[in-house]
């Protein structure tokens, strides 16, 4: 794991990736603090982070696109498979290296509130609470990026999908307002999701019985619940979309609340996608 971590870090700093990532993050947060803290003379650094979180849409895919896709393309994944290290160690090593690359510009950002506090009252507690939350939210998004990269051997494709998914997540709360909140609408949407899930299972496992079985069981459950108590589905879809949004949860930190459930949610998301990445790598041995 340490070997993978050191190796990945060396690769990031040999190539432009780490520098581009850091430069983008610093530039965006810099612009934010110029607009809010200097021009508008607001003493809340957390607003800057709220503004800056949009930059994740671009920089996380840039950072994570090559992490596994490139290994597959260059066939270096064969080396990783043949070395006496487990797939979990590979993924965790790579992920920790990404976190370190992410932490370096963040350490610089940590100086900003201190600098601003020289010129007035800055709420340091909320500032640093938000920076911590910002870090953990980014960590969750990076895990998502790692997973997307593990699905393909094309960096560009991984970046494109990554941008689309994160952008969708960013706007999912605004989008949810336009979505039907009736019970029937929710059921229809869930049915579409079940079909998609079945297709994914079928594609990954090449097992028809499993895919159709899972699909039918889920359909049956949904239908039975719908007929017994349709009210359960009212407003379900917009609700889910709001709940899934990583960015929406960040707003409570900006408002000065250190929300432990959000932290737990971020960590769960990160762990979930890392687990899926391990499975995705493992699966390649079984194709």
């Amino acid at each position: 794991m340490i070997a993978v971590l050191k190796h990945e870090l060396r690769m990031y700093f040999h190539s432009l990736t780490a520098y581009v990532f850091g430069a983008f993050l610093l530039a965006f947060v810099g612009i934010g603090s110029m607009l809010y803290n200097i021009q508008a003379a607001v003493s809340n650094f957390e607003y800057v982070l709220s503004f800056g979180s949009l930059v994740f849409v671009v920089i996380v895919p840039i950072l994570t696109m090559r992490v596994i896709a490139e290994e597959r393309k260059q066939k270096t994944d064969q080396l990783l498979y043949s070395l006496p290290i487990t797939t979990t160690q590979v993924i965790v090593g790579k992920y920790l290296a990404l976190l370190i690359v992410y932490l370096i510009p963040l350490c610089l950002i940590c100086l900003y509130p201190l600098i601003f506090s020289q010129f007035g009252d800055v709420y340091l507690l909320t500032s640093y609470g938000s920076i911590l939350a910002f870090f953990i939210m980014g960590a969750a998004l990076i895990a998502l990026g790692v997973f997307i990269s593990s699905l393909t051997d094309n960096q560009g494709f991984a970046a494109g999908i990554g941008i689309a998914v994160i952008l969708l997540n960013y706007y999912s709360v605004s989008l949810s307002e336009y979505i039907s909140s009736t019970a029937f609408g929710s059921v229809a949407a869930i049915c579409v999701i079940i079909v998609a899930l079945g297709a994914v299972i079928r594609h990954l496992t090449k097992n028809d019985t499993l895919a159709y079985g899972t699909g039918f069981v889920l359909f049956a459950v949904i239908m039975v619940t719908y007929w017994t108590d349709a009210t359960k589905f009212e407003g379900l879809l917009p609700n889910i979309m709001t709940k899934l949004s990583l960015f929406e949860r960040f707003s409570s930190f900006v408002n000065g609340v250190f929300d432990m459930t959000a932290i737990v949610y971020y960590i769960t998301v990160a762990a979930f996608f890392l687990f899926l990445s391990v499975q995705s790598l493992e699966k390649r041995r079984y194709n």
């Binding site: 340490i2 070997a3 993978v4 050191k6 190796h7 060396r10 690769m11 040999h14 190539s15 260059q74 066939k75 270096t76 994944d77 064969q78 080396l79 498979y81 043949s82 070395l83 006496p84 290290i85 487990t86 090449k206 041995r285 079984y286 194709n287």
Partner: protein, 326 residues
């Protein structure tokens, strides 16, 4: 050392490896021979833990590659068909990573890196970016990587493909040298290569093992339809008349050359080809016709290979030969 039992692997409907079993002993150079798509790479990938198998088991020095993966992998150094190199690094950085991943550190790591660099003769390029190296040097860096950690078994998948003739000779010499201290398994579809380096040859086709023997034995096996080529100034009819007395000549085909000579090919079913050539010589010596050239044609590995990979009853032969080998 390595025991492969009933190994089976499918890609969808395609049977890449079909109930393959063999055993490999310590301290030889083994050649893995087969036409493209025979399942060589697949078998090697499974043996090194890069791929799963649908069925069967592989024991590396007693450790199951699927169960005790780490212990088994530590005994193997593997160079896949395409050397798995990180192009932005230098060989030294790359070897450092592989060494650390293999559990080496500190002075031992530095010592081993120096040792493999010396062994594979990449001293002069060790601080250049790998992307700038020639194919031959890339291959050597790949081999150096396999040698780290001093594994007992070195598995090389087509190590000489795409190299120029001098590089091929150098890599072959390196493989021979490695064979003195390690068990080396390497795959190839070039017969002469396998013939010169290997102590044992495994031939696989369509995922099945069709022969496992020493190169000389494999040749011997197909020596039966021996052939003698002669060049003479006798006409075709005369040749046939002269040699009619030799009972073991089964077939004579003659062909007139531009310079007036006749080249004839004699097939024999006699075990001792020299006996027949003596008879041919004596037949000519009394006839007043000259014998300008006489060549004994033995079946080479090429013929064995073609014969074996094209024969339809491959499965039947497999079992028979495995028993013979044991």
């Amino acid at each position: 050392m390595i025991a492969v039992e009933h190994l089976t692997k499918c890609y969808g409907d395609f049977m890449a490896v079909d109930d393959l079993s063999f055993e490999i002993d310590e301290g030889h150079v083994y050649g893995f021979l087969g036409p493209n798509g025979a399942g060589k790479s697949t078998t090697m990938n499974i043996m090194t833990g890069c791929l799963s198998a649908m069925n069967g088991c592989i024991k590396i020095d007693g450790y199951d590659i699927f169960e005790e993966t780490d212990k088994a992998k530590k005994l193997i150094g593997y160079l896949p068909e395409q050397p798995p190199l990180y192009m932005t690094e230098t060989p030294v950085e790359y070897l450092r990573f592989v060494g650390e991943a293999k559990g080496l550190h500190g002075a031992e790591l530095n010592e081993q890196i120096g040792e493999v660099i010396r062994q594979t003769k990449i001293e002069s390029v060790k601080n250049r970016r790998i992307s700038a190296l020639s194919k031959g040097y890339k291959q050597r860096v790949g081999i150096a990587q396999a040698l780290l950690g001093n594994p007992k078994i070195i598995i090389l998948d087509e190590p000489t493909v795409g190299l120029d003739p001098i590089q091929i000779i150098e890599i072959r010499a390196l493989i021979k040298e490695l064979g003195q201290t390690h068990t080396v398994i390497f795959s190839s579809h070039i017969l002469s290569e396998v013939q010169t380096i290997c102590d044992r040859i495994l031939i696989i086709a369509k995922g099945k093992l069709i022969a496992f023997d020493e190169p000389e034995n494999l040749e011997k096996r197909l020596l039966a339809p021996n052939e003698i080529s002669i060049t003479t100034d006798a006409a075709a009819e005369e040749i046939k008349r002269m040699l009619a007395g030799i009972s073991h000549i089964t077939d004579i085909s003659a062909e007139e050359k531009e310079n007036g000579f006749v080249e004839a090919h004699l097939k024999t079913d006699h075990d001792d080809i020299y006996e027949i050539s003596r008879a041919v010589f004596l037949a000519f010596s009394g006839s007043g016709k000259a014998l300008f050239e006489m060549a004994l044609k033995k079946a080479n590995l090429e013929d064995v290979f073609i014969e074996l990979t094209e024969s339809n009853d491959a499965a039947g032969k497999t079992t028979e030969r495995k028993v013979a080998h044991k």
